[in-house]
């Protein structure tokens, strides 16, 4: 019967560890090549970001004055104070609504709902996140501007935007509460805490950083949205004085003026773009920092 393994006196190809055969060289070479090529792809992500930031900054920074940012004159070519302030108000209201509904919904889903309802709720949140912003904007238009009759006003925009932002807060709250270690949860309930006490006194403090991340993320997304607001609000030159006034936000400034062709207006668009970038990237960085700190804290929780 043939020996299944060569005896030591027979040399097998792999016995010589330094192998120069073509096939082996190809295999090793290909792997090495991939080791260089794939990391290079990061440039595809890094270069555009750097270029965007650099280009817009270079174009805008020399022209910026403190006045442009803070002037509350009616919105025009050298006064962005109005859009900035309006954006702040709008995001403020939208975030408040998003947090109210998202936080409540997320916690309820994580803690109070039986599995099938929870599953449905989560699916709803995920679908909403994936829905194109223009569809949500269009819903806002049909529902608030037309059907409710509010018209193209601040409130329409704010509520529409809050629809957009809610699922982000929802998912984060859901996830945050769901990741609280079972042991902590059982310890709290076991020592006689009622569900609402657990949620408020134990759950929220633990989940707070993560929820904060979700809120900032939602805000960053909301600030960057254009379509839903163009659809639901009429442009204005002043800060809205009531919920039913027209309003203009930073992104709309860019959208309106960029395509005009007039150099002054195009510059205005770029200035607005610069401010927008600073705010949005700033929020993103904050989100990341909080996330990183939270990770460390979590590790402490789990020991």
């Amino acid at each position: 019967m043939a020996a299944p393994v060569a005896s030591i006196s027979e040399q097998l190809p792999g016995d010589v560890l330094i192998d120069r055969s073509p096939r082996t060289r190809f295999r090793l070479g290909f792997d090495r090549a991939m080791g260089w090529l794939t990391p290079l792809l990061f440039l595809v992500a890094i270069l555009p970001i750097l270029d965007m930031v650099y280009y817009i900054s270079a174009k805008v920074v020399p022209t910026l004055t403190w006045n442009i940012i803070t002037s509350t004159s009616p919105y025009q070519t050298d006064a962005l104070g109005v859009p900035l302030t309006t954006t702040a108000y709008l995001i403020g209201l939208s975030t408040a609504l998003a947090v109210a509904f998202g936080l409540l919904g997320g916690i309820v889903t994580a803690e109070l709902l039986p599995e099938r309802w929870a599953s449905a709720a989560r699916t709803g949140a995920n679908l909403l996140v994936g829905t194109p912003s223009i569809i949500i904007g269009y819903l806002g238009y049909l529902a608030f501007v037309l059907y409710f009759g509010w018209g193209l006003v601040f409130l329409s925009g704010a509520v529409t935007l809050s629809f957009f932002m809610t699922p982000y807060v929802f998912r984060t709250a859901d996830l945050a509460f769901s990741s609280i270690p079972r042991t902590i949860r059982e310890a709290a309930l076991g020592s006689g805490a009622s569900p609402s006490q657990y949620i408020v006194r134990v759950g929220l403090p633990i989940a707070f950083p993560q929820i904060l991340t979700g809120v900032f993320l939602a805000m960053a997304i909301g600030i960057g949205e254009t379509a839903p607001l163009v659809l639901t609000m009429e442009s204005a030159v002043l800060v809205p004085h009531s919920l039913f006034s027209p309003a203009i936000v930073l992104t709309e400034v860019i959208w309106e003026n960029f395509q005009s062709g007039t150099p002054v207006l195009v510059l205005l668009a770029f200035q607005a773009a610069f401010l927008l970038l600073v705010i949005v990237l700033g929020l993103n960085v904050i989100v990341r920092v909080i996330s990183a700190r939270y990770q460390k804290r979590l590790e402490g929780l789990y020991q």
Partner: protein, 335 residues
């Protein structure tokens, strides 16, 4: 593996007992005073789902206002013929190539992150990819228009046209010219690729990370190179995650509105050449909304368009979500 359940460490939990559900989620005995509270608790949780339903309902309601001749045709001639075919085709023509590129690049990035780069370096570089998702689309629009457009219009597109002459549609002619600003398909695809990249990379990266360490090591222990283990073990194992990346990435590209509106050239036609201008469903809706303020017929058209866009979007989303292995990282990254 149940995609929507939290990790096993904390999952499978019984709902907390509440005044309305003293049995913790089990049905209350009939006649219990506070049973209705349970339904109240449902409300905030179901708001997102409610919004989806509201969208579908409202849009369907608004769509039967008038009948629309020629809706499924490719002839867009407002007030006589309402063929949205051109927009739908345009949406696919931009989203599909964008998906292709973002999947290829995303695969490469995920592979680099999980296999070839030390953990330290990859944790520094990964956030940049995620940052691409945080940039507002209107900024992609102006950057694309001012920086990338001229390059495409004056350099890249003519070069491609010259070198791909033999393939009819890739050859620009007098009747199918290259837009000198660079607006058109290539620019739109480029920007959409960048915008879908974060989703695809994140999901593929997570799928690869979910491959058990033992399995990787077994592959290597059999004398395979890292690439061979990836190709023959890790990718087959992560098939579902990779497919979900494709679906969700496609959904992102398909639904993008503002950036595309600024870069596609806004022409209601199927691009006569690869370099031509066109339109997408989302961009067209966005730019035509002004007309809706005036007439009921416009409103109806737009509503139908919204419905088509919504249906495609939901289908792609649902398919994608069902395949996702782990939702938690996508939620943190806001994808």
């Amino acid at each position: 593996m149940d995609a929507s359940a939290p990790s096993s460490e904390t999952g499978g939990r019984e709902p907390l007992p509440s005044p309305s559900t003293p049995n913790g989620g089990a049905p209350s005995p009939p006649g219990s005073r506070l049973a209705w509270l349970r339904y109240l608790a449902l409300v905030p949780a179901l708001i997102p789902l409610g919004v989806i339903f509201a969208i579908v309902y409202t849009i369907s309601w608004a769509s039967h206002l008038t009948s629309l001749p020629g809706f499924f045709s490719f002839n867009w001639a407002p007030t006589t013929n309402w063929g949205i075919g051109v927009f739908v085709v345009g949406s696919f023509m931009t989203a599909v190539p964008a998906l292709f590129f973002s999947m290829v690049i995303g695969l490469g990035l995920a592979v680099a992150s999980t296999t070839y780069l030390p953990r330290l370096i990859s944790s520094l570089l990964d956030p940049f990819v995620d940052l691409l998702a945080g940039i507002p689309s209107v900024i992609y629009g102006i950057w694309g228009f001012v920086v990338i457009g001229p390059y495409f219009g004056l350099t890249l597109n003519p070069w491609l046209s010259a070198h791909l002459q033999l393939i009819p549609w890739f050859h620009a002619t007098r009747t199918a010219p290259i837009n000198s600003l660079g607006l058109g398909l290539p620019l739109a695809i480029f920007v959409l690729t960048l915008m879908s990249l974060p989703i695809t990379t994140l999901l593929i990266r997570d799928s690869l990370r979910a491959v058990p360490k033992d399995l990787w090591e077994s592959g290597l222990a059999l004398g395979a190179t890292r690439w061979e283990v990836l190709r023959r073990v890790a990718f087959p194992y992560s098939r579902r995650g990779i497919m979900s990346a494709a679906f969700l990435g496609f959904g992102r590209a398909f639904g993008e509105t503002v950036a595309v509106a600024m870069l596609i050239g806004s022409t209601a036609q199927i691009p006569p050449s690869f370099y031509g201008t066109g339109y997408t469903l989302a961009a067209a809706m966005f730019e035509l909304i002004d007309s809706a303020y005036t007439s009921a017929q416009w409103l109806s058209v737009l509503t139908e368009m919204a419905l088509v866009l919504l249906v495609i979007s939901l289908v792609v989303n649902i398919a994608g979500r069902r395949l996702v292995i782990s939702l938690s990282t996508t939620e943190v990254a806001g994808v």
